[in-house]
């Protein structure tokens, strides 16, 4: 059993009991262990990593590479050099699009994506498709958001070069056929790009078991600081890919008109790296490991069950996504009849309850839901919990939900 109170004591921002933070899918909060790790880096070993030949710089390099090791181990990468530090999951996906896809996708090829994707796993592929005259193929979910393995199978053809799919939808939860995707994708000679931004923070992820070719994730959704994230990629692919950004510290030799590039992973990390935040991200991962993903998932599921049960009692609430609480991954997306999600969020804010409202950077999905589920507005409200949220908070939220229509004049 998770001792939520003990956990909450580690999070400075959660000490004010008036606030209920249910916008964890947008960004999580950070425990003092993460804040202290970043602070300690700057206080004790700050210098430019990978360059200096003196004690502090060597210390900074060690801390940075140790952080990479923690991340690599966490997703079970075969080697540390398969982890590229980037700013966030968005940058990781852009790296794959610009470096891998722009080199490997040709005219007439197909890139398979889902209607569920966050814009960060859609716009880079739109760019590639436009530039290369390739075709984007969209997987459309069932009404409950689920995309089956059969659907994926039928979308893949001999022309498919890339399948880019989210592990966990930031609107609907665990609805994509992640487990067996690689087999289907590889059989067609294509690569599998998984967007793990909402997946890696909430479940144990094993890239070797998934056999994905690329996996993107952000530090800030998993207790780490903003501005740091990672791309996992298979070494054989990274070796053949050209650099994404060019400049300092990613080279071997440079002449006036040419350059050769550094070994992995540094080939993909141009310029001074964000070492302190990488250290912070690693501290966040260690915190999650200590809590344990079984406990994390159990707590999230318990809270989601309270939310789903509570919402079921309110006849004017529509919940999107699967019926099974276990598939929600902490995310409950809903609408209230007659009420615009922005007004819902504004009146909940007055109760010090923070949720997200809007299109969730998934406008094609909003359009799809509007049509399929007859949504009044092209937007939804979303409550998203993490393991440090309490049952009491979930009940407070449901109490407030029951009053929203009254507050908005119904």
């Amino acid at each position: 059993m998770l001792d939520v109170n003990a956990i909450r004591a580690d999070f400075p921002i959660l000490q004010d009991p008036r606030y209920v933070y249910f916008d964890n899918a947008a960004t999580s909060q950070r425990p003092r262990q993460v804040l202290e790790a970043i602070d300690s880096f700057y206080r004790t070993t700050n210098a430019n990593p990978l360059r200096g030949l003196y004690e502090w710089s060597v210390g900074a390099t060690e801390a940075y590479e140790q952080a990479r090791h923690t991340v690599a181990e966490h997703v079970n990468a075969k080697e540390d050099c398969e982890i590229i530090f980037v700013r966030n999951a968005t940058e990781a996906l852009n790296l794959v699009a610009y470096s891998y896809a722009m080199t490997n996708v040709q005219e007439g090829d197909e890139i398979v994506v889902t209607v569920l994707e966050h814009h960060s796993n859609l716009l880079p592929w739109q760019m590639v498709a436009d530039a290369k005259k390739a075709k984007l193929i969209f997987l459309e979910p069932q009404e409950d958001g689920i995309i089956t393995e059969e659907m994926l199978k039928s979308a893949i053809t001999s022309k498919t070069k890339i399948v880019a799919m989210t592990m966990v939808s930031n609107v609907l939860g665990k609805v994509t056929p992640v487990a067996n995707a690689a087999k289907l994708v590889h059989a067609a000679g294509a690569v599998l790009v998984l967007d793990g931004a909402q997946g890696v923070p909430h479940q144990a992820v094993d890239v070797q078991k998934l056999d994905c070719d690329f996996l993107s994730f952000s530090g800030h959704k998993m207790l780490g600081p903003m501005g740091i994230g990672a791309l996992y990629a298979k070494k054989a692919l990274l070796e053949k890919m050209p650099p994404f950004l060019r400049g300092g510290e990613m080279i071997e030799y440079v002449t006036r008109n040419s350059a050769t590039y550094a070994e992995l992973p540094h080939k993909f990390e141009a310029g001074t790296v964000n070492a302190a935040d990488a250290v912070g991200m690693a501290a966040g991962i260690k915190y999650l490991q200590q809590v344990g993903f079984e406990e994390i998932e159990a707590q999230e599921q318990k809270l989601v069950s309270i939310l789903l049960e509570g919402m079921k009692q309110l006849p004017y609430v529509q919940v999107y996504g699967p019926a099974d609480a276990a598939l929600h991954s902490g995310i409950v997306t809903f609408n209230i009849e007659g009420c615009h999600p922005h007004d819902i969020s504004t009146v909940l804010d007055d109760e010090h309850i923070a949720i997200r409202a809007g299109h969730h950077c998934a406008q094609p999905l909003m359009e799809y839901l509007q049509e399929k589920c007859h949504m009044e507005f092209r937007a939804t409200a979303r409550a998203s919990v993490y393991f440090y949220n309490t049952e009491e908070e979930a009940h407070r939220f449901i109490d407030a939900m029951g009053k929203i229509r009254k507050w908005l004049g119904f």
Partner: protein
């Protein structure tokens, strides 16, 4: 005004029972205004006479309560005003919700002055200004039948 009071006393009424919602016959100008990030979408229709007086106005569309109520309150105040007066009021309203206008001018906005507290909710400013912005584009810039957006402000 406290937030829930603002909704209860002003916004809900104009949102749920608007005086000027619908389509009018033969408007002189019609313009679509949208906030893509929230899906607020209004069609503003104005009728001006030969002396550039706003003699009638209606809006249609959908969106959050603040965008809809604000458009309704705007029409309450600008119908019967000259084009120049309406544009002056738009300036005042924009200044009010961005905390840059002189509070002594707010009275001219009549009930729309109640949205003053939107200035403390930066995320909702574009909802409140959608109707006004659309009206400015029509009367000041002469736009008609083309969409405008208040994104990226």
């Amino acid at each position: 005004m406290e937030l829930k009071d603002l909704y209860r006393e002003i916004v809900n009424e104009h949102n749920l029972h608007p005086s000027h919602k619908g389509d009018m016959e033969q408007p002189s100008m019609i313009l679509n205004g949208v906030n893509p990030s929230c899906g607020d979408d209004i069609y503003l229709q104005l009728k001006l006479d030969e002396n550039d007086m706003v003699v009638d106005g209606m809006f249609n569309g959908s969106g959050c309560a603040i965008s809809q109520a604000s458009a309704d309150m705007m029409l309450d105040v600008i119908i019967g005003k000259s084009k120049d007066e309406a544009l002056k009021l738009a300036e005042t309203f924009m200044g009010m919700v961005r905390s840059t206008a002189d509070p002594s001018e707010f009275e001219a906005l009549e009930e729309a002055a109640a949205l003053e507290s939107i200035a403390h909710m930066p995320a909702r400013v574009k909802c409140a200004t959608l109707g006004w912005k659309t009206m400015q584009r029509m009367l000041r810039d002469g736009e008609s039948e083309t969409p405008v957006s208040t994104e990226n402000e």
